[in-house]
């Protein structure tokens, strides 16, 4: 279980997150929706300590941390429990696909090279890249790069995988292959928090939808409730705008 309590974050005078409380059950697939600038990516980055909230606590399984008093060891422990899949993949460009996945296992989790290799190959096969082990990221398509990013996160065996708009930087025809992989691992029962604009995906795969706007959680619930019968006016407006955009897309 992951529990966020009273997370607040400001950049200068601008408050991006205002006292966020969120509970995610083990094995849940949470989708965070919201207009740009609503703080959803920042919230995700706080869980991985890529941003430091001004205040708040986080609990992942039996580990908990107060952001105000976090020391290096706490940060390390928090990062061990979460793994991030980035919008722009952020693969290590000077390393091969296999090395990208192995890096964290060998350097951080102190696996032996053989063990790390075996596990990395297994993960890469899971995302359908078993034949690209020795390729460099620059030789792959965006969709393939993102699948390496997913394998890298999976290999670390985290309690939760955080997806930060994993398909936003992709060509439309490559979105499907990445969503298929995410869908596949969602079925394995790994806890996931996904920030996305893919409404179809949110509806199909998630079992918990969170709608954020202007740094607060406006509404959350089961996908059929949020999409079918949103209670809040802002949620209605947002969904209407997104679905009407769909109607015009070619």
């Amino acid at each position: 279980m992951i529990k966020l309590t009273n997370i607040s974050k400001s950049f200068g005078k601008h408050e991006v997150l205002h006292q966020i409380n969120l509970t995610v059950e083990k094995g849940e697939v949470v989708v965070i929706l919201g207009p740009s600038g609503s703080g959803k990516t920042t919230l995700l980055r706080c869980i991985n300590y890529l941003e430091k909230p001004n205040e708040g606590q986080i609990e992942i399984g039996d580990f908990n941390l107060d952001y105000k008093q976090a020391n290096k060891k706490d940060i390390h422990n928090l990062r061990q429990r979460s793994a991030m899949v980035f919008q722009h993949y952020n693969l290590f460009k000077h390393k091969t696909v296999l090395e990208n996945v192995m890096e964290g296992l060998v350097v951080v989790q102190k696996f032996s090279t053989d063990e790390a290799k075996r596990k990395s190959i297994e993960m890469l096969e899971k995302v359908g890249l078993g034949t690209k082990l020795d390729a460099y990221p620059s030789q792959l398509s965006g969709g393939q790069q993102q699948r390496v990013g997913i394998a890298r996160a999976l290999a670390l065996n985290p309690e939760v995988i955080l997806f930060d708009e994993p398909t936003s930087a992709l060509d439309p025809e490559l979105v499907g292959e990445v969503l298929d992989v995410i869908r596949k691992i969602a079925k394995e029962g790994i806890t996931m928090i996904v920030v996305t604009h893919e409404m179809g995906f949110a509806r199909d795969v998630s079992n918990h939808v969170v709608f954020m706007d202007e740094g607060v959680i406006v509404e959350e619930g089961r996908p059929q409730d949020i999409f079918g019968a949103p209670k809040e006016e802002r949620t209605k407006q947002f969904l209407k705008r997104i679905t009407s955009e769909w109607a015009y897309s070619i």
Partner: protein, 258 residues
């Protein structure tokens, strides 16, 4: 100036000058190695934004980039001993080569620090975040992710520096250092065939520069093997050379290519 031009002197001088090649290379290698260490140390406060040290490194860099190397040689050779005298260090018996290497090291250190700074900044922020995200420490991210990439980015700049340094080392003769150019002065005075010594000298500098250029080119290609685009560019330039050769052959045969 001197006697009748005689090409034989050029061949005569080549081995004599080459026997001082190791001194020239010692200056280059010593100053680049020392310069790398200085450059790395000087780059750090600016990369990590350390308040006062940042200012100091900026002043150092702009001084050594903004004054001629010849003046720096004179300043270090004549000025440094005076300063050291104040703290009772006697340098009158120190080998002139030490002063030369120190000057060139300080000079290239300024350029190297800028190269390192630019190269580190060129590694994208996202990869550093990814490194932190998989749980690496700041030191691990620096040594395993940033520096290897920064190094390959900075190879072309370093290559320029080494070659410039090789040529600049010829100025060391003004302090009486006996490297290749220094030797050429004495050869010229003794035989009164200055032009021949200069021809021999430029041949040697040219060949070494070209060799160094090739070495760095291969080093760059090797370090940047993860960049597909570079390889493609190389291929296309080879293709162009091939086309040019065919075209020249055709023109020589007198066949209209069009």
């Amino acid at each position: 100036m001197g006697g009748q031009f005689d090409i034989h002197y050029v061949f005569d001088f080549l081995p004599k000058l080459l026997s001082y090649l190791h001194i020239t290379l010692l200056i280059v290698a010593g100053s680049i190695l020392l310069g790398l260490i200085i450059g790395f140390i000087v780059a750090l406060p600016r990369l990590y934004n350390v308040p006062i040290l940042k200012r100091v490194s900026q002043v150092y860099v702009s001084f050594f980039r903004g004054t001629p190397i010849l003046i720096q040689l004179f300043l270090i050779y004549y000025g440094l001993p005076e300063l050291l005298k104040l703290i009772h260090v006697d340098t009158s018996r120190t080998n002139v080569l030490i002063f030369v290497i120190v000057t060139y090291a300080l000079h290239s250190g300024a350029f190297i620090s800028e190269a390192i700074r630019a190269a580190v900044n060129a590694v994208d922020r996202g990869q550093i975040e990814a490194a932190y995200s998989v749980g690496m420490s700041g030191y691990q991210a620096l040594t395993r992710i940033i520096l290897p990439q920064a190094l390959s980015i900075s190879v072309p700049i370093l290559s320029n520096l080494v070659i410039a340094n090789l040529k600049d080392s010829s100025l060391a003769f003004t302090l009486g250092a006996m490297e290749m150019t220094g030797k050429s002065q004495t050869l010229g005075s003794a035989t009164r065939h200055f032009v021949e010594t200069y021809i021999a000298l430029s041949l040697i500098y040219f060949v070494i520069s070209t060799v160094l250029e090739r070495i760095f080119f291969y080093l760059e290609a090797r370090l940047l093997r993860h960049e597909r685009q570079i390889i493609e560019k190389e291929r296309s330039s080879k293709r162009w050379i091939g086309w040019r050769k065919r075209e020249i052959a055709r023109l020589e045969k007198g066949v209209d290519p069009h």
